[in-house]
């Protein structure tokens, strides 16, 4: 089987897409988990403010989600555009 240039580029793009999304998922997963753990702690200490704390948690998680979404976008670009 002869390996051609175009095929090799496509193979590298697929491998890159998998690595991008796979490695990119590690950070947000751990980071958002830490946010949620501290939100539980905060609600345990001051449960009157549960609504406010849940909102803060969700906004914080959404921001740390952004790098995961960048990985997703780059993976989709590698799969369908490049």
């Amino acid at each position: 089987m002869a390996i051609e240039g175009v095929d090799l580029v496509k193979a590298a793009a697929f491998l890159g897409a998998g690595l991008s999304m796979g490695l990119g998922a590690i950070g947000p997963g751990v980071g958002e988990g830490m946010v949620a753990a501290k939100a539980c702690e905060a609600i345990g200490k001051n449960s009157k403010e549960a609504g406010l704390l849940t909102r803060t948690m969700l906004v914080g998680q959404a921001v740390s989600e952004s790098t995961g979404i960048y990985s997703l976008v780059v993976a989709l670009l590698l799969l369908f555009v490049v």
């Binding site: 089987m1 390996i3 095929d7 090799l8 496509k10 193979a11 590298a12 793009a13 697929f14 491998l15 897409a17 998998g18 690595l19 999304m21 796979g22 490695l23 990119g24 998922a25 590690i26 950070g27 947000p28 997963g29 751990v30 980071g31 958002e32 988990g33 830490m34 946010v35 949620a36 753990a37 501290k38 939100a39 539980c40 702690e41 609600i43 345990g44 200490k45 449960s47 549960a50 704390l53 849940t54 948690m57 969700l58 998680q61 959404a62 989600e65 995961g68 979404i69 990985s71 997703l72 993976a75 989709l76 799969l79 369908f80």
Partner: protein
């Protein structure tokens, strides 16, 4: 290289990686248990016999992950499963990777409840049986990702893939091993974090034990999902029959699908475990608001789960679309 030598080569390398990686997690986890047990004995030397017993039981459960890896390594070395050739070689290598990576998280995670239960017994000898039970439940759940990895490894060793085309089946089989194996790392550690916190909490607030165990189990169940996604991708890679490919890119897409789901499961598994750890700890301290805490835990875990879902989507696109 002739097919028999190639198959033997792959089996030997796979066996080495399997028990090599597989020994990492359990050793650290058991070391943690023993370290905490020392602390517990120094705090309450009168019950050192009970503490010693609890330490050994906890360590035995953590050990099981690396025993699974040992079993798979021995199977790879000594059992002649049918067939030889490139596809068989890929399957055996994938089996070694699956079990080797898969034992890391469970071994490490199961060490936490063992250690915390020892410290808990030294603090509250009256609830020692409750603590041992909780430790065993928690560490048994932490072992499930290692069991998933063992299932995938056994299937890769004993199933017959020889009717499939070499391109791209070799990549699908290595990908199948990586997917479950690496995704199991996160779930194993995460489940262990939740179990450790629950043993700690039951010792501090024994009257909340029932609610604490329930919260732990719910949290652990969510923390297991990334490894279930990994298992799902592995099953698709093993059971879908792929058409013969003439290009490298078709093989690379399947290998990449396994790598993507494997790495992608690590972070969310650990993150979900951290969330469950926080929730369990505060359910014990503030039992009146257990409902609020459970709800916040589940919402937080769902968001932390999202990147594992993205990874699964990209894996499925790599398998079915491109």
């Amino acid at each position: 290289m002739d097919p028999v030598t190639l198959t033997k080569l792959a089996a030997n390398v796979g066996a080495g990686l399997c028990i090599g990686f597989g020994a990492v997690g359990a050793a650290i986890g058991e070391g943690y248990t023993a370290a905490e047990a020392n602390l517990a004995v120094s705090r309450n030397p009168k019950i050192s016999g009970d503490l010693f017993k609890n330490m050994l039981v906890g360590q035995a459960v953590a050990e099981s992950a690396s025993i699974f890896a040992l079993v798979i390594a021995i199977l790879l070395l000594f059992v002649d499963s049918p067939g030889s050739g490139e596809i068989k070689a890929a399957a055996l290598f994938g089996a070694g990777l699956s079990m080797g990576f898969g034992a890391i998280g469970s071994g490490l995670g199961s060490g936490f409840p063992g250690g915390k239960a020892c410290v808990g017994i030294s603090r509250q000898p009256a609830v020692s049986s409750r603590l041992t039970t909780n430790m065993l439940i928690g560490s048994a759940v932490s072992q499930t990702p290692a069991i998933f990895s063992m299932v995938v490894a056994l299937m890769l060793i004993f199933m017959d893939f020889s009717t499939q085309p070499l391109q791209p089946t070799w990549a699908a089989l290595i990908g199948a091993g990586l997917s479950t194996g690496m995704a199991a790392i996160g779930s194993g550690i995460g489940g262990g974090l939740a179990a450790g916190a629950s043993c700690d909490s039951i010792a501090r607030q024994p009257r909340t034990a029932g609610q604490v165990t329930t919260t732990m189990l719910v949290g652990q169940a969510v923390a297991q999902t990334p490894s279930i996604f990994g298992l799902l991708v592995s099953f698709i890679l093993m059971f879908k029959s792929f058409p013969a490919a003439t290009s490298v890119s078709a093989s690379m897409a399947l290998l990449s699908a396994g790598i993507c789901m494997g790495f992608g499961g690590i972070g969310p598994g650990i993150g979900n475990g951290m969330t469950a750890e926080g929730a369990v700890r505060w359910v014990a301290r503030n039992i009146e608001h257990a409902g609020d805490l459970m709800r916040t835990m589940l919402v937080g875990q769902a968001v932390a789960q999202s990147t594992a879902i993205y990874a699964m989507v990209i894996s499925l696109v790599l398998i079915f679309v491109v």
